[in-house]
């Protein structure tokens, strides 16, 4: 089931529970929607605590335990798939107002003594699978995992919890949207208009695939270094050198442009 905002910038997919359902949903969405620069995957779900929270991975550390929390959102900085034994690490690059911890996931509920997992762990069924599926499409800095710990909370308590956390969640989504816009605006190296002109220029030079690559490299460099790349090539049109006769002529003109 999917929901989209009016601007088409937020897509909410409900995957259902379990590793297979979650991984399938991720792959399906990212394949059909396509992934572009500026896309983020924000995974929401619920989790249970195996014991009182202490911060897994700090055994032997001199550090004092984190404050115990009964409920609320946690940001997962490490995801452990108990079934495969593999661990995954989303990049923690954003300043977010949620406590962090490790999330353990698997297809069956693991009791603390049986698994040897510390009491601090949050357990769900999907997070590691979502990361693993998502990693085929997205880099580790584009995936975030929030899990709602809600030990024995009834509906009224859950609603109250969401209301309490709403400002933080809204702020998170706003931050990601802002970052997404920034990344998208920087992504396109050439505008659509420029791309059309480059296409014409490539044709005028009778570019092969490798010549086209070199031409684009040159034009990108010219643009980034502040040169007016159009002026150089328009001059060649005015002089009658472009369009040229054949690939051999085009190669000569390209080599000349590349020379210093």
């Amino acid at each position: 089931m999917q929901f989209q905002d009016r601007e088409g910038k937020l897509l909410l997919s409900l995957s259902g529970s379990g590793q297979i359902a979650a991984a399938s949903a991720v792959s399906s969405v990212l394949s059909s929607e396509g992934v572009s620069c500026g896309d983020f995957l924000l995974s929401f779900g619920s989790a249970r605590r195996l014991g009182s929270f202490r911060g897994e991975g700090m055994r032997g550390s001199f550090r004092s335990p984190e404050r115990k929390r009964e409920s609320g959102f946690f940001l997962l900085n490490k995801l452990v798939n108990l079934d495969s034994g593999r661990s995954f690490y989303p990049d923690m690059l954003y300043d977010l107002p949620f406590p962090e911890c490790t999330g353990f996931s698997g297809e069956r509920f693991y009791a603390g003594e049986e698994s040897g997992i510390s009491e601090d762990a949050l357990f769900d069924r999907e997070s590691a699978a979502i990361y693993e599926a998502g990693s085929y499409y997205l880099s580790p800095d584009r995936m975030l995992f929030l899990r709602l710990l809600q030990e024995d909370a009834g509906e009224e308590q859950r609603n109250a919890l969401f209301t309490e956390q709403e400002p933080a969640l809204s702020s998170l989504i706003g931050q990601l949207q802002g970052l997404s816009e920034e990344l998208r605006s920087r992504a396109a190296l050439f505008s659509e208009e420029e791309e059309a002109e480059i296409g014409k220029l490539s044709a005028a030079l009778h570019c092969s695939l490798s010549m086209d690559g070199r031409l684009r490299q040159l034009l990108l460099y010219q643009k980034l270094s502040g040169e007016d790349w159009r002026e150089y090539w328009n001059a060649l049109y005015r002089l009658g050198e472009l369009p040229c006769r054949d690939k051999k002529e085009g190669k000569r003109i390209l080599e000349r442009a590349l020379s210093f």
């Binding site: 991975g57 550390s61 490490k78 690490y89 962090e100 460099y221 210093f260």
Partner: protein
């Protein structure tokens, strides 16, 4: 002092009391236990540019060899028994042209907690003869000294091993540590710890060498080191093209020789920018809007460099100007053939017979 928001630490290092002083320097960092550093360092599709905004620290123990022979194509300054070590991978600086962006999949800082093992390996080498060891190739150890205090440990080791010479390559303008180093070494011992400062024109530094020391700060740092008896090497490598490069490099030399008299400089190295084709591909992917990364380099058998004689013209120009100050025997020009005498682009065979991609580590920083 710069902090890390997260420190990824290998399981076997947790509880190591020797790490406590290091960890205490980052009281606010979240510790994340990992099985192996590659689980974090080698993740696929990492975004180095984003990671550079919030660099993390990874603490690991390296298995296997810690000291490597210097590659023949690297500048050895005529030294025999030339080796390098990489206790730290990546740098806190962010130079746009750095080969590390092409070489490593991650932008995070990786520290191998292996000093005792490294010193053991070094002692074994020193039993066979003298050793010239470059310790700051894939990083900038002087820039990291405030965090890790590794050079202080090297200083203590150097004092005990008269057959050892160390080179520390840096772009740091930090002068604070030379007194500490000098305090632990006799005048003769200091002669065996060479500080090699990479120098670029100020406009190149401002545009492309983010977070590094300014030219003035580096020269003052070099001055301080020299005043305390450490030999100084100046590395004009890599030379970076800009529109008025001749003027820029002339101004650089003027500033250098206003600071130093020629006798005060042990030697200099010169080399224009070059990088392996594979690393350049990664660099371009990581930095699509970098004018340095996107320069249309010429590819000569897998080595990308300024084409059409530009690189040679730049080097010839600088060599000619340097020659007015420094005698020829103290000027080292990067030679792509290296000591093997092979032409550029021909990889060097590794011991197991497999061809190796040309290793540019240490040729420039």
């Amino acid at each position: 002092m710069r902090g890390f928001s997260h420190i990824y630490i290998e399981k076997e290092l947790i509880g190591d009391p020797e790490l406590d002083p290091l960890l205490r320097r980052f009281p606010d960092a979240k510790l994340v236990e990992i099985s192996h550093y590659k689980d974090v360092f080698n993740r696929r599709r990492q975004n180095r540019e984003m990671q550079q905004r919030s660099q993390k620290l990874i603490l690991a123990r390296k298995r296997g060899r810690l000291i490597y022979p210097g590659a023949p194509v690297c500048q050895s300054f005529g030294e025999e028994n030339f080796f390098y070590s990489s206790l730290v991978m990546n740098c806190i600086y962010d130079c746009e042209y750095c080969y590390l962006k092409g070489m490593y999949p991650s932008g995070n800082l990786l520290l191998f907690w292996n000093l005792p093992e490294l010193f053991s390996e070094l002692r074994e080498l020193l039993r066979k003869g003298t050793v010239y060891l470059c310790v700051s190739y894939d990083t900038d150890l002087l820039a990291l000294e405030g965090l890790f205090h590794l050079l202080l440990r090297f200083t203590d080791f150097l004092r005990e091993e008269p057959g050892l010479r160390i080179e520390v390559r840096t772009k740091s303008g930090n002068r604070n540590f030379f007194k500490d180093f000098a305090g632990r070494l006799s005048k003769e011992d200091r002669e065996r710890m060479i500080f090699a400062f990479t120098l670029s024109p100020e406009r190149i530094i401002r545009s492309f060498e983010k977070r590094t020391g300014s030219l003035r700060a580096r020269l003052e740092s070099a001055e301080e080191a020299h005043a305390l008896g450490f030999p100084i090497r100046l590395c004009f490598d890599p030379m970076i093209y800009c529109a008025d490069w001749e003027q820029a490099y002339l101004e650089l030399l003027h500033q250098v020789f206003r600071t130093f008299s020629p006798e005060e400089i042990r030697d200099v190295s010169v080399g224009s920018f070059r990088i392996s084709g594979a690393y350049l591909r990664e660099l371009r992917r990581a930095l699509p809007r970098s004018v340095i990364a996107q320069f249309p380099y010429e590819n000569d058998g897998g080595v990308c460099h300024y084409g059409r004689g530009l690189g040679e013209r730049m080097e010839d120009f600088l060599l000619k100007e340097l020659g007015k100050w420094i005698p020829e025997e103290r000027i080292f020009r990067w030679n792509p053939a290296g000591s093997s005498g092979k032409a550029p682009g021909i990889p060097n065979l590794k011991e197991n017979g497999k061809e190796a991609e040309i290793d540019f580590r240490g040729a420039f920083s």
